[in-house]
C-alpha cells in the first residue's frame, strides 16, 4: 500500500479555512485517497474519499491534482470542534480492506 506523508501538526483559528496536504508519491493506478478524522478518546470517522480532481461533501473538500501524488483536504471555516487528528489513507479498491493509517495531522483550532 502506498505510503503517505502529512504534517505532524497544524494550528488555525476559528473561522479560517484549513488545508492539510498529504503526499503519496508512489500511489498506484487503482488507489483511492481517503481521509478520516479522530477526536480524542473516540474512533476515527470517515470524512471524504476521492480518486481524482475535486470531491466535495457537507464537511470538506478534497483536491487531487492530475498526477495524484498528493492530495489536499480543505476544511472551510473551522471551529473549535474541528480540533482533531486527520489521517490520510491510500488504498487499492482491488486489494483487501486494510486501512493503513499514517502518522496523521493534529489540527489545533484556537479561538
Amino acid at each position: 500500500l502506498a505510503k503517505t506523508t502529512q504534517p505532524i501538526s497544524m494550528d488555525s483559528y476559528e473561522g479560517q479555512e484549513v488545508n492539510i496536504t498529504c503526499s503519496h508519491n508512489n500511489i498506484a493506478t487503482n488507489d483511492y485517497i481517503t481521509w478520516y478524522q479522530q477526536f480524542p478518546s473516540q474512533g476515527p470517522r470517515f470524512i471524504i474519499q476521492g480518486y481524482k480532481t475535486k470531491v466535495t461533501n457537507e464537511v470538506a473538500s478534497l483536491f487531487i491534482p492530475a498526477d495524484r501524488k498528493s492530495s489536499t483536504l480543505s476544511l472551510p471555516r473551522v471551529s473549535l470542534s474541528d480540533t482533531a487528528v486527520y489521517y490520510c489513507l491510500v488504498g487499492d479498491w482491488s486489494n483487501t480492506g486494510k486501512l493503513i493509517f499514517g502518522q496523521g495531522t493534529t489540527l489545533q483550532v484556537k479561538p
Binding site: G43, Q49, L99
Partner: protein, 114 residues
C-alpha cells in the same frame, strides 16, 4: 441509530490475566475489524473477519485472538496481557472488504494493564 458499540469503555486488568473486549454492531455489516491504538500513535490493524472468515495480520502477536459468534458480535481476547498491550482497542465494521468502503468505528475500549 445504527452503530458500533464497544464494551466496556475502560478495562483494567492485571499483568498476565486474560481479558476479553466486546464489540457489537447494528449495521449488519459483513466485516468486523480490530485495531490497536497506542498513545499518540495511529491505529494499527490486528485482524478482521469477513463473515466467518478470519484474517490475521502477519505481525499480530499470538497473544491476541478473536471470535465472531454471529454477525453482530466480535470479541478480542488477550490471553496474557503485558504492560505493552496497554492501548485503546478499536472495533470497526464495513459492508465489504475494500478500502473504498467506509469503515465505521466504535468509541474504543481503553485497556490498562497493571
Amino acid at each position: 441509530d445504527a452503530m458500533v458499540i464497544q464494551n466496556p469503555r475502560y478495562q483494567v486488568t492485571q499483568f498476565g490475566k486474560p481479558v476479553t473486549l466486546s464489540c457489537s454492531q447494528t449495521l449488519n455489516h459483513n466485516v468486523m475489524y480490530w485495531y490497536q491504538q497506542k498513545s499518540s500513535q495511529a491505529p494499527k490493524l490486528l485482524f478482521h473477519y469477513y463473515d466467518k472468515d478470519f484474517n490475521n495480520e502477519a505481525d499480530t502477536p499470538d497473544n491476541f485472538q478473536s471470535r465472531r459468534p454471529n454477525t453482530s458480535f466480535c470479541f478480542l481476547d488477550i490471553r496474557s496481557p503485558g504492560l505493552g498491550d496497554a492501548a485503546m482497542y478499536l472495533c470497526a465494521t464495513s459492508r465489504v472488504v475494500t478500502p473504498t468502503d467506509t469503515q465505521y468505528f466504535g468509541p474504543g475500549t481503553r485497556l490498562t494493564v497493571l
